[in-house]
């Protein structure tokens, strides 16, 4: 069986459509916004608060470890994704959750307790077969922190 032809093109980041991130001291931080009127935090960032319609938002950063809130294993995946796709919500602070693919077998995950870290990796391919990268989750291991 021959390997699929590999694209020579460097992977394309999917931001800003899906939200922005930065890598600070080797760690991925997601860019969110917090409403200065009511304190609600949103990812991806937005200009108007969905809770109170406040328009003064400050930029905040979400970083791991985050707690796995809920996940599923998707067997019928959208075009460009590899199946099965483990994906779910991680809670970064109370009430602030982000959805992303999880690089781990479902057997290693427990909703409500597994701690996850954020990293950047391939999410899917575009219609030309080129790789698109973005934030993903993986189990958090203190040892990885170095």
């Amino acid at each position: 069986m021959s390997a699929a032809p590999q694209s020579q093109k460097p992977p394309t980041p999917m931001e800003p459509r899906i939200g922005k991130w930065e890598i600070i001291n080797g760690r991925v931080e997601l860019s969110a916004s917090r409403c200065l009127s009511c304190g609600e935090t949103f990812f991806p960032s937005r200009k108007v608060c969905l809770r109170c319609r406040g328009e003064t938002m400050e930029q905040v950063r979400l970083k791991g470890p985050a707690r796995l809130k809920n996940f599923t294993v998707i067997h019928q995946v959208p075009a460009g994704f590899t199946k099965p796709l483990v994906a779910g919500y991680a809670e970064f602070e109370p009430g602030v959750s982000v959805f992303a693919p999880i690089d781990a077998p479902s057997t290693e995950l427990t909703s409500g307790s597994t701690l996850l870290d954020v990293h950047i990796g391939p999410i899917r391919t575009d219609k030309n077969g080129d790789s698109l990268i973005a934030y993903k989750f993986r189990p958090f291991r203190d040892a990885d922190r170095g």
Binding site: N70, T72, V73, H75, Q76, P78, A87, Y89, S111, I123
Partner: protein
């Protein structure tokens, strides 16, 4: 309505005009009296409503095309109800139609969750996992919804799938998004349905015994922080629509004799029953398992077979529910008839957007 199914060789204009013709004939209302039409569809192209009505030479009247994802049919009925109840029109035509693409419904590209792989089955799978974890519901209880609805659909000549299936067949079908298996997801179905909405004065001219719309409510998704607000956006949208509808009808959930609810996925029916107050919170799975929501049970839900068995042509489903409930209230449903049904409730909910959850929900209450 027409029998739902797959119509690869028919144009949407052809089969939707058949549904409109059938509704007009059944109502006995003179087409000349129709002064407005509301057409629901999600992806049938520009002015699809006018294209359908052209087939019947019903041209020139104001025709409004409604897109509200899976809740489009209910939204179209609400629009027509406003036109007639508000006194602007005496007779309105409502129809919903869809010729579906096979496979997954493609998510909106601007929404980050869809871009990151969250499909509609995955959305309901996540709701199922969270529900199961919270209330201890089982995979078998979820699957029973599909067994029940296919049993009902087997008695409905308008249903796409008219075959029964066992619990084991449902559970062992291929996984789509865990814990949902293929037979717990609505099929890809083409179809169209239509109803005629008229003023009380005109209703006296109807051929078949008309039913009364005593409540019509549409809500949109709103931001909720489940942790703090105690309810998710996806549940809240139905709770708000139901509260509005019950208030309008001066009724309570216990007054409802039969319901058609949004069962695009098995968990959807369980959550809908709870959000509509048809069964206690956390007991939807148990109610399905014990047959409380089957025909002959305490509150029969989806006697048509629901979206799972009748099929789910997006824009048509909400109208098809109302066609079914009209026939139920008229006592015309044969073997699937809910005995003594005098109050009926229809519920559809659709769309998925991060931050506001489901986009649209419609609840209607009908009486004899």
């Amino acid at each position: 309505m027409i029998r739902f199914g797959r119509y690869p060789d028919r144009l949407v204009e052809q089969f939707a005009s058949d549904a409109v013709r059938a509704a007009l004939a059944d109502s006995g209302i003179d087409p000349e009296l129709i002064t407005i039409a509301v057409a629901s569809h999600s992806s049938q192209g520009r002015v699809a409503g006018q294209r359908v009505l052209k087939e019947l030479a019903l041209t020139g009247i104001p025709t409004i095309n409604v897109e509200n994802a899976c809740a489009g049919g209910g939204t179209a009925l609400h629009t027509a109800w406003m036109a007639v109840a508000g006194g602007f029109h005496d007779a309105a035509l409502v129809f919903g139609m869809e010729k579906m693409e096979k496979g997954l419904i493609v998510g909106n590209p601007g929404e980050y969750e869809a871009a990151m792989g969250k499909t509609l089955p995955a959305k309901y799978a996540l709701r199922a996992r969270s529900y199961m974890q919270h209330y201890g519901a089982t995979a078998a209880q979820l699957a029973m919804v599909s067994v029940k609805n296919h049993r009902a659909g087997a008695l409905n000549p308008m249903a796409h799938y008219q075959n029964t299936m066992t619990l084991d067949e449902v559970l062992s079908s291929r996984p789509v998004a865990e814990p949902l298996t293929l037979l717990q997801c609505c099929p890809t179905t083409d179809g169209a349905a239509a109803v005629v909405v008229v003023s009380e004065a005109l209703a006296r001219q109807a051929r078949s015994r008309p039913v009364r719309i005593v409540a019509s409510a549409v809500t949109s998704g709103a931001y909720r922080n489940a942790g703090r607000d105690g309810i998710s956006s996806d549940d809240d949208i139905t709770v708000r629509a139901a509260a509005k509808a019950y208030e309008m009808a001066a009724m309570k959930p216990a007054d409802v004799h039969v319901a058609e609810v949004h069962d695009a996925f098995t968990i959807g029916e369980i959550l809908a029953c709870e959000n509509l107050g048809l069964c206690p919170r956390g007991e939807g799975g148990i109610w399905a398992e014990h047959g409380n929501t089957a025909i002959g049970g305490r509150i029969p839900v989806n006697p048509s077979g629901g979206l799972l068995s009748r099929g789910h042509p997006l824009g048509a489903s909400g109208v098809a529910q109302v066609a079914e409930l009209t026939w139920q209230l008229q006592g015309r449903c044969g073997e699937r008839q809910v005995q003594g049904a005098r109050v009926a409730l229809a519920h559809v909910v659709g769309g998925s957007t991060p931050g506001i959850g489901s986009g649209a929900c419609a609840v209607h209450i009908l009486t004899t």
